[in-house]
Symmetry: C2
């Protein structure tokens, strides 16, 4: 048993132990209070924005970043923008098993939502993007994404639009050369750092016991009791660690994964990273099917049951599944109004 699995086992045992402690005689208001206290020890309400010292969020960057988010004319075939795989209408995911990039190229994995995504340990399923800025930057030359060959070609295209040139200057006043792919990435990153979607669960964590209903409370308790919260914790209910997908049994036994994905092993080439993926955030999970790194599962109920089997070695009952799903729905939040307003893009003068 390697250290990672050992650490995982210990965290599950601890979670169950803590859960057992709370199986006391508490009822009604006491039980409610206990549940909230316990939840506050594991989860956190969402921040207002996902700030970064490396890329402070400014209005000028956000405005430019939102425009660039919709800019398809900087992709090799003119069809790919960030919004293609992350449309706001579908909670910044695309509803596909795997996203389709330029010239119909299939991306290796399912497009995760960009909402609440900027404060994770890394981006992408296997953590091969260090930040949302890094993700934006690498996307433009990603062969199955925008498909551009050189960063300079992206910069050249951006410079064709006088409006962009002046907006870059305004957003990055200290830079002599402001129209760069790094600043492109920073602007998009700044926009993404505003994409926080407060939900009923945040109201609950802030002390409003009526913000979630009894089913959702039961689900929350089940989610913690079962050990789900061992990995899916914090403000984003995930996104803070890597974990093997298939601790107890191989994931492909239960998902409909046709091809086996070795996960983080592709990045690190370390044997222990085989089948290891970043634990996804569960904010808005109700709204972003299909599920898992390969989008192989359509229904949230099925995803919950499979997680029980392959991660916890447990058969989650129908009642427990319903309760957990009810809880997960309390994570569905409100997309910021500004992010729902389409920017009109410049034309060449």
């Amino acid at each position: 048993m390697n250290i990672r699995v050992l650490r995982y086992a210990v965290s599950i045992v601890l979670a169950i132990f803590v859960a057992a402690l709370s199986f006391g005689p508490a009822t009604g208001a006491d039980a409610d209070k206990e549940l909230l206290q316990r939840a506050c020890g594991i989860f956190k309400a969402l921040p207002k924005a996902m700030e970064s010292d490396q890329n402070p969020v400014t209005p000028a960057k956000v405005k430019l970043g939102k425009m660039l988010f919709y800019e398809s004319r900087i992709s090799i075939d003119g069809t790919v923008s960030c919004a293609k795989c992350h449309p706001m209408s579908l909670y910044a995911a695309d509803g596909l098993r795997k996203s389709i990039g330029n010239n119909c190229k299939v991306n290796p994995r399912n497009a995760p939502t960009l909402l609440n995504a900027a404060d994770q340990i890394s981006e992408h399923w296997i953590g091969n993007r260090t930040s949302v800025e890094d993700q934006a930057k690498q996307s433009v030359i990603g062969p199955p994404a925008f498909g551009m060959v050189k960063y300079e070609d992206v910069e050249k295209r951006l410079k064709e639009y006088a409006e962009y040139v002046s907006m870059f200057k305004e957003a990055f006043p200290a830079d002599k050369q402001s129209v760069t792919v790094d600043n492109f990435a920073k602007a998009i990153g700044a926009f993404e750092r505003t994409l926080v979607t407060p939900a009923a669960f945040d109201e609950y964590l802030r002390g409003d016991g009526k913000a979630i209903d009894q089913d959702q409370k039961t689900g929350l308790k089940t989610f913690m009791d079962m050990g789900c919260a061992g990995c899916h914790s914090g403000a984003f209910v995930g996104g803070q660690m890597y974990q093997k997908f298939g601790i107890v049994e191989p994931y492909w036994k239960y998902t409909k994964s046709g091809q086996i994905d070795e996960g983080r092993f592709a990045v690190s080439k370390v044997e222990a990273d085989k089948y290891v993926f970043k634990v996804p955030i569960l904010r808005n999970v109700e709204k972003t099917p299909p599920y898992f790194h390969d989008g192989s599962v359509d229904k949230l109920e099925d995803a919950v049951i499979i997680m029980g089997k392959v991660q916890l070695g447990r058969d989650i009952t129908g009642q427990q599944t319903s309760a957990i799903v009810a809880f997960l729905k309390s994570l569905t939040g409100k997309i910021p109004d500004d992010a729902l307003i389409i920017p009109v893009l410049p034309s060449i003068e």
Copy 2:
């Protein structure tokens, strides 16, 4: 010389004759007044909405239609929605020579803007869609568009979303079966009928002589004097007739059209319809490159020069071209605020 060409020749001669009449000694304020009067005889300010007796615009239809406009999950591969080829960020066109539909299929022609599009004699370049409703309906089973095989399959997918079912009921209260492709088309059509973009030119036509500048006035005069307004007239500056593309010389001599498109002949099989296309509207033309049915020309200046050559048999000078382009920019309008707000789509419950 067939009757169509004869009619065209007469209209050009008449236009030039009328133009000659106005070459009087009028100067300054008088000339301005004359120009406005003449323009008002040829063009019209935009209506508030593009109403239809067959499909009255109601708020419930528009709300549903806007959601369906973004709905990609009813296409065969889950990637195509109306917004794919008509994104509002690019003035409801896509910036491509020819649009890309499901599974990377190339559409036969360039995607025209949907703004101000609903009051034309027909939709599509060759008039093979009778209305915006017909266009929406046929798109879902169009092989290079949404690519669905049967209308029933679209209806089945729509019915999976409880929110859509109740919205269809609300939008079409008299229908026993409200979730139908016909109503899908009516809802989208109703949304499109609101897509009117008032511009500086409308202010001018309503009597504000300062709404357009002197260059634009010169351009407007040139546009009428040259005969462009013989076809590009009315509220939409086009969209009201079919015309041969290449009256004087074949269009492919001057455009970069690799393949010859026989135009409306494909629909009618009438010899006289060879190379005949619907005269496109010029509203927002500045913002919707590339130009012509095959998107073969990138620059508006070049498109103007080519039109002079192949339609009018004239070499338009650089000065005249600049003036016409300046006038055409006065047709760039404001997209309605509501059309720029992205609807969040339902998920399966």
